[in-house]
């Protein structure tokens, strides 16, 4: 199968409009007869489910948490981008598009990114109309701040809780449709399989997490908005229930998985404190607006308290190496630099940390101003570390944060399985090899509010009523597969001696060491071996308690870890095949003289989409060539 991106013809600026003019519409009477499943109710899923319900479709929405308001999106801190140009600092749709393409190190599809920039402004209008309390200036207009990888201030925010406020907006719109009877909400459910009939997505199998029963749901189309797979690394900034299971099971049913090795390591997280640690906490990138990153110039100074190190002995390495972007270089650049100064032995704290220092900003703007902007982040930092960041600089270190890779989708956000659409972090579409700050929220809401309502309609308009119900044999088969896997865990679980978490932590360590911030051919090959060992152990020596017919979080986790192990292998494979460095994918063999990522556009300007070929078989790689008609590929420079 060749990958057809279905990008409309015509100039970049007109593609989306001409697409909209050409889409087929579904009449109101027919919409009422169409069922759409939305899996995941974070920003992407909640906005899609609400919008489709408003249009008149019958929507069934599913999430793992006990309420859609708790999706991982709730934790996004810093903000959301849009090309409004309110500060009049030269922003435009074109510039947002260009920054995003460049920030992604020229590994994203032009047409998708341009559309994202185009609809960005409508997102802000929509959210304000919903009553989202964005930060405002004294004159009553909306406030903006700047984020990494951009020289304009285009980020809208709601204190340090932007994701929360945007998600609550989408959640409320969703519940309004629940009240109207157009959306049926299923909480505490986990999708465990996709049902495909005659090549089309026709439904899902889910586990009811409260009583363990297996449920089947049929529909005319399925939307997956299940978030990213950063938790494959065990330690990450992602919420606990974030997982790859839904996407991975779709992969096994025929959806291609694109660029799995493109993961983002966020430069400013609270460093790990101990082995028991279950997750890492992000300190929003917005802090780099006012905080200055430094380490001591001399190794001897690393154990001294920060205030005893005079200015001339501090190395503000981002400011000196990247004079034009300074502390606001993109995340991949900031992360790699933090790692390299720590590798040199100049890390502070336990050795794996750099300072993020607010003393200049506090002196210049006063503590109150800093508190207004970042109060909740400072509070969180103090809670976790028992240190006061108003007085001593924060210690920060990079951590896994976001996954650019995901299920391959075309311009309509449709996967390689007809009728399966993928939105938000779960798809691979818009961020190439590195995502800029404040653009995941933008993408999730763009997909859900402004893209899927049209593209799903365009699909459904061509669909005749399929007559497929949950009585179809394909549902029975998928259900039996799911039950077999669950029963397997329970049975094996009584015989082994290593817990799910112990395997999970091992997997995380391998991925972080070898498929993390910098990668080598040798390391990646070792990782493949180590992952195979973990897989072997997990399949033969698992220790698990409890039953399948009740609430059982460890059982849920077992399924997710099984998928992370397999996905980890695919991530490694993908990283190994890509003999270049780009964005978050840094192969030590491929770097410029001054240590920046060295792309190979001649051989690797494509999205790599992997096709599942059966258990134990090597997956097949398909390439979607990335054609750049509007931007010139250049070596990224933030100097």
């Amino acid at each position: 199968m060749t990958l057809d991106s279905k990008v409309p013809a015509g100039p970049l600026q007109n593609k989306w409009d001409s697409y909209l003019e050409s889409v087929k519409l579904v009449s109101p009477a027919n919409k009422r007869k169409m069922d759409v499943i939305v899996v995941g109710t974070g920003l992407a899923g909640a906005s899609a489910a609400a919008s489709l319900g408003e249009l008149g479709y019958n929507v069934k929405a599913f999430c793992i948490q006990d309420s859609p308001r708790r999706a991982h999106s709730i934790a996004a801190q810093g903000g959301i981008n849009a090309a409004k140009n309110y500060p009049n600092d030269g922003d435009s749709v074109w510039r947002l598009f260009y920054d995003t393409i460049k920030g992604g190190d020229f590994r994203a599809r032009e047409a998708n990114v341009y559309r994202l920039a185009q609809v960005s402004n409508a997102i802000i209008d929509q959210c304000v109309a919903q009553g989202v309390p964005f930060a405002r200036e004294y004159g009553g207009e909306l406030a903006n701040r700047s984020f990494g990888g951009a020289q304009v201030s285009r980020t809208f925010y709601a204190r340090g809780q932007t994701g929360q406020q945007l998600l609550l907006g989408a959640y409320q719109a969703l519940l309004r449709q629940v009240d109207a009877g157009k959306v049926e909400m299923f909480t505490r459910r986990e999708m465990l399989d996709l049902v495909v009939v005659d090549g089309k997505a026709r439904g899902i199998i889910v586990r009811n997490l409260v009583d363990g029963s297996i449920e089947k749901y049929a529909a005319n189309a399925v939307i997956l908005a299940t978030g990213g797979y950063g938790r494959a690394y065990y330690l990450s900034t992602n919420a606990f229930n974030s997982n790859a299971t839904a996407a991975w099971r779709c992969y096994k049913r025929g959806a291609y998985f694109a660029n799995p090795s493109y993961v983002q390591i966020h430069p400013t997280c609270i460093p790990q404190a101990g082995d028991y640690q279950s997750k890492l906490t992000l300190m929003s990138e917005s802090l780099r607006n006012d905080g200055r990153v430094w380490v001591p110039k001399k190794k001897e100074d690393v154990k001294k308290p920060a205030h005893q190190i005079p200015n001339e002995d501090r190395d503000y390495y981002l400011e000196t190496r990247y004079p034009s972007f300074g502390n606001l270089v993109p995340r991949d650049v900031a992360s790699r630099n933090a790692k390299s100064v720590c590798d040199e032995g100049r890390g502070v704290g336990a050795g794996r940390a750099v300072y993020l220092d607010f003393s200049d900003a506090i002196a210049r703007q006063g503590q109150k101003a800093i508190e207004d902007k970042y109060g909740n982040l400072f509070h969180m930092y103090a809670k976790i570390t028992a240190e006061n960041p108003y007085e001593t600089p924060m210690g920060i270190y990079p951590a896994i944060h976001y996954t650019m890779g995901g299920l391959w989708v075309d311009y309509e956000l449709q996967s390689t399985v007809a009728g399966l659409f993928v939105a938000g972090e779960a798809n691979f579409s818009d961020h190439g090899a590195n995502r800029l700050g404040a653009s995941a929220l933008m993408q999730g809401l763009a997909d859900g509010y402004f893209v899927l309502p049209f593209t799903v309609g365009n699909y459904l308009a061509r669909e005749k009523a399929s007559g497929v119900t949950v009585e179809h044999p394909a549902f029975k088969e998928a259900e039996a597969d799911v039950k077999r896997q669950i029963n397997g865990f329970i049975e094996r679980g009584t015989k082994g001696d290593t817990t799910v978490n112990e395997y999970y932590r091992r997997l995380g360590e391998v991925l972080w060491d070898k498929v993390g911030m910098s990668r080598t051919e040798e390391g990646l090959k070792q990782a493949l071996g180590q992952i195979a060992e973990i897989k072997q152990g997990f399949e033969t020596n698992l220790l698990l308690t409890g039953t399948s017919e009740s609430f059982n979080k460890m059982l849920e986790l077992a399924g997710r870890v099984a998928d992370f192990i397999e996905l980890g292998e695919l991530m490694t494979r993908d990283a190994l095949h890509r003999n270049e460095s780009c964005g978050g994918h840094f192969r030590e063999e491929f770097q410029t003289a001054d240590g920046e990522a060295l792309r190979d556009d001649e051989n690797f300007a494509y999205a790599g989409a992997w096709q599942f070929k059966g258990p134990g078989e090597e997956p097949a790689l398909h390439k979607e060539a990335l054609v750049f008609e509007n931007v010139e590929l250049s070596q990224r420079s933030y100097k």
């Binding site: 408003e54 948490q65 934790a75 929509q126 405002r136 606990f240």
Partner: protein, 253 residues
């Protein structure tokens, strides 16, 4: 600094919604460091139980950074534990002393039935929001966001109310198991903002009715909710709700 605090835990265990529950004691649990969060401490205990062949303790949590509202434990009789303005996932073991006995229970309220062990069903809170906690606008073209200027103080006050994480600690802390702080916060946010004005009467009437339908108790201004709230949502929100409610029933809508 201690990496082995030898804490004793009394944990509520309940096999299912219909089953009778009881406290189970876990004495001198090894390997608890004062740097752990409360949920990480439970992770350690669970790993120990699984290695002993016992069933792990079920508890809720997701973001583990105080924003999703999924964690919901009553610690030593207080929702989210004794530290002000803190969710239990952000409560660190350093706030306990070596050798302490800690009692861990689910959030208790008639409207929050127990699912298993420390996990409860808070679906009632979603149903209150579904009854009107929104601005009724569809997705589609809207006027430019800066077309409507909103006074910064009003916007900040709306934000303070909107910061609610919907965890239900206010309900668990209230002797009447009232959901007034939760409901009042949403009503306040939307009635302060011009966007919410058009349907403010209908909203408050429906949301307040839904609270009653769900079996939440009445508010008698005891203030326990505010004290337990991890986001320190102010009691003033309840006053706003009551005012809005009176306004609604005295006007036609």
């Amino acid at each position: 600094m201690s990496d082995d605090m030898k804490l004793n835990l009394r944990v509520w265990r309940q096999a299912g919604p219909e089953a009778a529950g009881a406290f189970v004691d876990y004495k001198a649990v090894p390997g608890i460091s004062e740097h752990m969060s409360f949920l990480e401490m439970l992770d350690v205990l669970n790993e120990m139980l699984i290695h002993r062949g016992e069933v792990a303790i079920e508890f809720d949590g997701d973001c583990r950074e105080g924003i999703c509202g999924q964690c919901s434990l009553t610690v030593n009789g207080q929702a989210h534990g004794g530290e002000r303005g803190t969710t239990v996932c952000q409560l660190h073991m350093r706030s306990f002393r070596e050798g302490d006995t800690i009692v861990v229970e689910p959030f208790r309220a008639k409207a929050f039935p127990v699912i298993k062990d420390l996990v409860v069903d808070r679906g009632a809170l979603d149903r209150i929001i579904a009854a009107g906690g929104y601005v009724s606008v569809n997705t589609g073209p809207k006027p430019d966001a800066n077309g409507m200027r909103i006074n910064k103080d009003i916007s900040d006050r709306a934000f303070d109310a909107a910061a609610c994480i919907g965890c239900g600690a206010c309900v668990a802390a209230c002797p009447n198991a009232s959901a007034s702080l939760f409901t009042g916060a949403k009503i306040t946010q939307l009635s302060l903002l011009p966007q919410g004005d058009a349907e403010r009467n209908r909203r408050v009437a429906r949301m307040v009715d839904q609270m009653d339908i769900e079996g939440f108790g009445n508010c008698s201004n005891l203030g326990e909710c505010e004290a337990a709230c991890p986001k320190e949502i102010s009691l003033d929100n309840i006053a706003v709700m009551k005012r809005e409610y009176l306004r609604a029933i005295f006007s036609k809508f």
